[in-house]
Subunit: 189 residues, 2 copies
DNA sequence: ATGGTCATGTCGCCTTGTGACATCACCGTA
DNA sequence: TACGGTGATGTCACAAGGCGACATGACCAT
């Protein structure tokens, strides 16, 4: 018989998710999370940099998919980023609406988590922008195309998880929002 | 003779700014800041929510100017936001390049401060978007116009404070970046 | 003079996050 | 079979962030 149960990291993530939902983020201590996972506080900190990180693990995967998609697509930079996000929407978000909703509701309830989410988005943005620069685009163009794409994704996500949403295709929503953005910046006055 | 020196808040902000530059954000304790300002740690926490806030005080002023400018301007939403930021650039940033550079260098050196800056930007964005909605625009349009404007501002700011920058007109830079964004989202392929 | 108000200081507490060291199953090797 | 190494975990101790409760004392109105 093994000395330790397997997948300590996964157990901690699950425990954190449950506890954040049950009592809220601030009312949950790291010791609580570790206890529910049958581990020690110190072990938690070996696997996660801090309490917030337990909620932000899929990030690297997302970044990988995005960067790859952007690098391989060969249309205009803005179109490339939007296409990459649509791919992410299909690969990663499909059939996960309820999960995403729960996650969002946790994040919205805590300023600390909102800050962390913002930073995650920001570093993801930097990675995508770097991928665009690697294709020969200028600093400014890469930054604007990437941030526009991220913005479209965020607005579409907000609409997708909204209570009024019918939970239709997230990828289609992204395309719609991209179109809105185009008309918005184009139309003078 | 007064029992307390005046402007405790200002003294704490100044002390924090100095210490963050001298030793770095993480190496500075709240007790250090308070001591340099001739105050107690507890007093610091009465005036600021946390250690980071000592560096983010002009934010409310900025938000006020922006919201007012957006509400009063009467062109397309994106144009309104860009115009508002150009006004801010002239009113608040002119002749403060060195100060802004120092501030930025402090923020860049600390992940915690970066997170906080992101959140400040985010709440400012929300305020501007609300001002646009108050003018009758849809949720999505307001969000896209605002975020586009904020993005333009951020990219322009990055270029303005960059070491290679000639320190020319920040407002002009904003106009340039806005134009770049238009061509970028417009051009298909 | 009297009492209220308000900014500040003092004290004590819990939580976050980390360094240093102990433990002990597992594994390869003699 | 014994032995030592490795790696994940627990234990202990501690600095710092952040907050509640209470004390202090200058200022002000009456």
């Amino acid at each position: 018989m093994a000395r330790w149960q397997p997948d300590a990291r996964g157990r901690l993530e699950a425990a954190a998710f449950e506890l954040f939902r049950e009592r809220g983020f601030e009312q949950t201590t790291v010791a609580d999370i570790a206890a529910r996972a049958g581990l020690d506080k110190r072990t938690f900190y070996r696997l996660f940099g801090d309490k917030r990180e337990a909620l932000f693990s899929g990030g690297e995967q997302l970044e990988g998919v995005l960067v790859k998609a952007v690098a391989e697509t060969d249309v205009g930079p803005f179109e490339a980023v939007v296409a990459a996000f649509r791919q992410v929407a299909e690969q990663i978000f499909t059939d996960r609406l309820e999960l995403v909703r729960m996650r969002q509701s946790i994040i919205v309830s805590s300023p600390e988590l909102q800050e962390r989410e913002l930073r995650k988005t920001s570093s993801l943005t930097a990675a995508v922008a770097a991928a665009l620069r690697a294709k020969g685009l200028s600093e400014t163009t890469a930054a604007l195309a990437t941030e526009s794409g991220v913005m479209v994704f965020r607005v579409a996500l907000a609409r997708w998880v909204a209570p009024e949403s019918d939970g239709g295709s997230f990828a289609d929503l992204i395309a719609e929002v991209a179109t809105e953005l185009r008309t918005l910046t184009t139309a003078p006055g």
